[in-house]
Structure formats: C-alpha cells, structure tokens
Symmetry: C2
Subunit: 334 residues, 2 copies
DNA sequence: TTGGCAAGTTGTTTAAGGGTAACCATAATA
DNA sequence: TATTATGGTTACCCTTAAACAACTTGCCAA
C-alpha cells in the first residue's frame, strides 16, 4: 500500500502538502493538487484506515454481537445491520456469542479496546437466564454506546429496538379463536428468552380472556427432537389450532399434522413467527407473523449512529423503537 | 479508555516504562512492574487496538465477504470462520455482497485500506456469471491474501476450500439408480454458480453412464415460486427420484410429493444437499449430503492465517483443500 | 520610478493520536 | 573503572491540522 510519505518523496513535496492536496485544501495551488491527485490515482492511494482511526479517535466500525448466526431471524437482522451500516460508511465486526454469557463478555471486552465505536447486540440465552447485565453497563460506562435489539435487558439504560411480540401473538391467538378453534396449543423452543416469555404471555392472555380452554403449552429445548415432541403433543391433546413462537416449530407443526392424517387448515390451523423463506417449507404455507428483521437491523444502526454523532456527552434520553410485525395470511389458516 | 500516558503520569514514570512493565520486560524492576500492573488493573487498561495495528502494520482482522447471509450454508460457514478466527485472536469484518459484483468490488476495495490483513470470501453470483476476477487479483497484488471457499474462481491464484460437489452428487445419483429408480430428476436453484454446475455435471455423468433415461433438469430462478414449479415438474415428468442441488429444493420436493398424493420414499426418493436443520422441515426427513460448513470456515481461516504468518513474501504454492461431504441417510430414501 | 511594507499565496514544520523498541543515560555495585 | 540494573529518550507506524515560513504581488509614498 502506498503512503503519503512515498507520494511526497516522489513528488518532492512535503507529506502534508500531499495530504492537503488530496483533501482539496485551499492552501494548495491548483496545479500542485492536480499533480498530486494524478500520482495518487496512479498508485491507487487510499488513506490508511488505521492511521485515520487513531488520529480521529473513531473507527467507523460497529461491533455486532449476536447469539446465533444460524437463526434465520437473527441472520436477517444482521443483514439489515450490514446494509444500513454500509450506507453510512460503517463497517461491522461480527461476534457470535453462541448463546454463551462467557463468550458474550469476552467479545464485548475484546472490542472495547478501540476496535469499535459502539455496539449493536442481542442478548445471549445464558445471559438472559442468569440475568447478568454488568458487562453491558461497563461498556456503556467506558463511552461505548450499545443498541440492543429483540432480546433486550430492560434494566440497562440504552437504545433498544424491539418487536410487538405480545400484541402480535395475542392477536394471532384471538384470530384462531374467531375461526372457532376451541383447543389451541402454543409451541415454543425459546421459552427462556425475553421474547419467548412475552409471546407466551400474549397467548395466555388471549386464551384466558376469550375462551374456556386452559393454556396448553409445549416447550421444546434445543437438544430435543421437535418432530417427535410435536407429534406427541398432537396425539395427546388433539389440538385444533397451533400458535408457534418460533419459525421452525410452525412449519414442523404443519408437516406433522399432515403426517398423522390431519388436514391443514380444515382440522388444524397454524400460525407462527416466520419469514417468507421458512414459511415456504410446508404445504400449505405457514400463515405468519413477520418481524421485518431487516428494518430492525436498520433501525438499530440509525439509533447507534445518531448517538455516535451527538457530540455532547450529556446523554440524551434513550429511546426504544418498536417495529410492528405484520400478519401474512397463508394456507395454514382458514 | 485509559492510555499509557495517563498511567505514566500517575505513576511518575515514563510511558515506555509502563509499556515495558506491562510486557514483562527484563529491563524493569520487579516492584515497578508490580506497581504498574496494579494501577493498570485498577483502571482496566487495555492496549489500544488501533495504535497497535498501526505500529505493527497488522490488524488481526479478517475481511469476510459472503454473497448471502440468509443462505443457511453460507451462514454456517461464517459461523465456522468466526469461531476459528476467535481461537486465533482474530476478529472478522463481515461484508455481504448480496450477490452483486459491484458491492463485492466495493467491499474489497473499502477494506483494502489497512482495515484487514486478508480476505476470506465466496464469490457473488453476478461475478461468477460475468466471470470477473480483476478485483481479486488486484487485492492479492496489494499484498492482501485471499482464501476462497465454495464458489471459487479457478483462474485466480489463491488458497481455496471446496467441497467434492461433483463426486457427492454423482454418488447420490448412483444410489438412487441402485434403488431401482428409472426416472430421476435434478432440481437446482443455483445453476449459474460454479458449484451448481459441478453438481449438475455429477448428476449428468451418473445418469448417462448408468441408466437409459435422459437427464431431466429443473432450473428455478430465485424469483420464481419453487413450490409451484416443482409441483409442475412432478406432474409433467412423473419422476421417481429427485436429486436437489440446494437445501430448500429437497425439502420442498418432499412436501410437494406428499401434497400430490405420492408416498415418500415408496413412490419417490429424494436426496439433497442440506443441513440437519433444514432436513428437519419435512416428514420424512430429507436424506442429505452434508457439507460440513463449519469445517469449511475453519479450514479457510487456517489457510489464511498460515499465509499471513509466513514472513517471506515469496509466496509458497497455493493450496486447495477439499472438504469431503458425508452422506446422511434419512427417511426420504429407501 | 522604485523602495518598503502589508497582504496574499503556497507550502513546510511540527505536534498529536497510542503504542513499541532500539538505543541511550544514570546510578549503584563489583 | 567496568559492569549491571533500571529506566528514560527518541524514532517510528500514517494521517491530519495548527502554526509557521517563504515567496510573490500590490500598493503607496518618497
């Protein structure tokens, strides 16, 4: 890589002349600017990012810590983050906490050494279970703003982007009740997450307020065989409606229902939180609650950059953006 | 963030004394080292990464450019990359080319300003179609090594990590022939990618060598309704076996077959390139060719770091690692 | 007409950002 | 006096920008 120094030497001018010329300074003559720019173009000169970061004390880089890159929703948020960040000229350093508190702490600490200007993150499962937030507060205390999305810690003062989980599931459940369903089950593989809890509460409220049945909840851990458990759930409870808290469960519920001879949606209706992609993995397609994951990512970036740009350290109040889900009617409901 | 300067001032020693003390230099007295370390710990001092990068002319950061983060396979490779990189103390900056040549070029150029020590990438669809490789060669020429995985450019001299696509599909096809299938279709949504072509060739070879049928290929573009097209394919051709080049097609093929009243695997056998996760989205589960995506990522990191560590610019020969797929028998084959 | 000075033009010097390390300095010890 | 232990000075990585320097030009007065 060419440096200013090399250009300066070849042009027989000082380093700063080259620097200023390339930055179109008023202090440098037109022809000099032209000479400099030509040589710079010839050598494909690009200002060294590291030196710039050091000088300006900002890296134009965002640290992103996500619990699981194989989760389609989280991957999509990451996509949104990357796209929006690129728009603003920011790069992203991605760390995967793998749902582990330890890895999350490490990543946060590792990047809090000047590598990034701030963080966008969703909290690891273990962290949520243990309810640890000290590491977040520490980072914020060091002057590194954090924006949390989806899985957030309510007792950390920072910007947040969340989804109307409670309302979405509440409404979806009521929809199945309106269809005339009388035995609606709730399937979740994420019952220990903040969002999982919210969704279950939305289901519970709708059931308790608007029906005579009792809540009927199937919780599946990540290590269990979900096809097997869902099959057993169907056969034991004879449900005629299913609300799935996560994307995979909804699709698997449909496939299972069909497999044991039920007709969807005649015998069983299914609604799930899901993307278009996953919804396509069953016939009929899963009627879905869409989370607009890319918008969530984009909003997180906007919040973070806004905070990075405000010069006065006097923190303006933190804000929470709620990205409303939308409902996509597909073949798995009446 | 505390700096050496601040520590030095508070301790009434010089900056370099602090630096040396923290690095356990022989030149500094035991008690001084102790004093320094205690204060550093108190203030949670961490060497500024940016300054270090500038000084040492390496960032311990890898630029990763992937075409599509929503592709489960690519996401999993990214996961492997991140994990392995973390092991070696490397961070990753992720760029998503979104299958666009322009974005790929931009990302490459943007990071080639000292932001990263090297690249790991899989080539964008558009790039493969247009067969452009100049930007890769340019980066390598600038001293930034590249490791390509999965979708590679054979006329760029760099390390590569690939999969035995041809053999895997060839063997899978022969397996269906051994089952006694006589009308085996091939479904692909990636026919314009290098890997897609290899897979189709593997299918063709097996069919032409070992059967009397003609190759029967269904190509689906990303914008088309795959459920619809696969259904039409089934109804038109009455296939009794399906080889799917990508993960989604296999699952959708099974669901479609069941939907039109066929029995899987009695009437139709299906084999696809697929992960465990996606294979779970059909009943029976998809018999799969596993790509060991995480291993691919890990191997790419190893190759890159190995190249970064060799001091002599005299490039050792580039190497290509082939990560063998494995075959997972599930319910969708006899 | 020309000397002198202010102002403008165009660069250069230098410090700074945070860290490391080669090299140098000082005091105590052998 | 030479050596050792300990620590300080300084240069360097690359860039920017404030401060400074040098040269040209313009204008006025002698």
């Amino acid at each position: 890589m060419v440096t200013l120094k090399q250009l300066a030497k070849e042009l027989n001018v000082s380093i700063s002349t080259v620097s200023k010329a390339l930055n179109n300074s008023e202090e440098i003559g037109e022809d000099t600017i032209k000479r400099v720019k030509e040589l710079a173009a010839l050598y494909n000169y690009k200002p060294n990012k590291v030196a710039l970061s050091l000088k300006q004390n900002k890296t134009k880089t965002i640290g992103v810590i996500i619990p699981d890159i194989l989760n389609y929703f989280l991957a999509k948020v990451l996509f949104g983050i990357e796209m929006e960040a690129a728009l603003y000229g920011y790069n992203i350093i991605t760390c995967i906490s793998n749902e582990s508190l330890e890895k999350e702490k490490e990543s946060l600490q590792l990047l809090a050494n000047g590598s990034v200007d701030g963080f966008i993150l969703s909290i690891a499962q273990e962290t949520q279970i243990k309810n640890e937030v000290a590491h977040f507060k520490k980072a914020i205390g060091q002057g590194l703003p954090i924006v949390m999305f989806d899985r957030v810690a309510h007792d950390v003062l920072c910007d947040k982007v969340i989804v109307d989980d409670f309302d979405a599931i509440y409404n979806a459940t009521k929809l199945l009740l309106l269809e005339g369903r009388t035995k609606i089950g709730f399937i979740s593989t994420i019952d220990d997450l903040s969002v999982g809890k919210l969704r279950e509460r939305g289901y519970n409220k709708a059931i308790l307020e608007n029906s005579n049945q009792n809540p009927l909840v199937l919780r599946i851990s990540k290590t269990e065989d979900s096809q097997f458990k869902i099959k057993a759930f169907f056969e034991t409870n004879h449900v005629d409606g299913v609300i799935a808290a996560d994307s995979a469960s909804g699709v698997i519920a449909i496939n299972t229902a069909i497999n044991i001879g039920l007709h969807v949606p005649k015998d069983v209706s299914v609604i799930g939180f899901s993307s278009n992609y996953i919804a396509n993995h069953s016939i009929p397609r899963l009627t879905s609650i869409r989370q607009h994951a890319r918008d969530i990512g984009a909003n997180a970036v906007q919040l973070l950059i806004k905070r990075l740009q405000q010069k006065n350290d006097a923190d303006t109040d933190v804000s929470t953006r709620i990205i409303k889900t939308s409902f996509v009617k597909n073949g798995s409901t009446l």
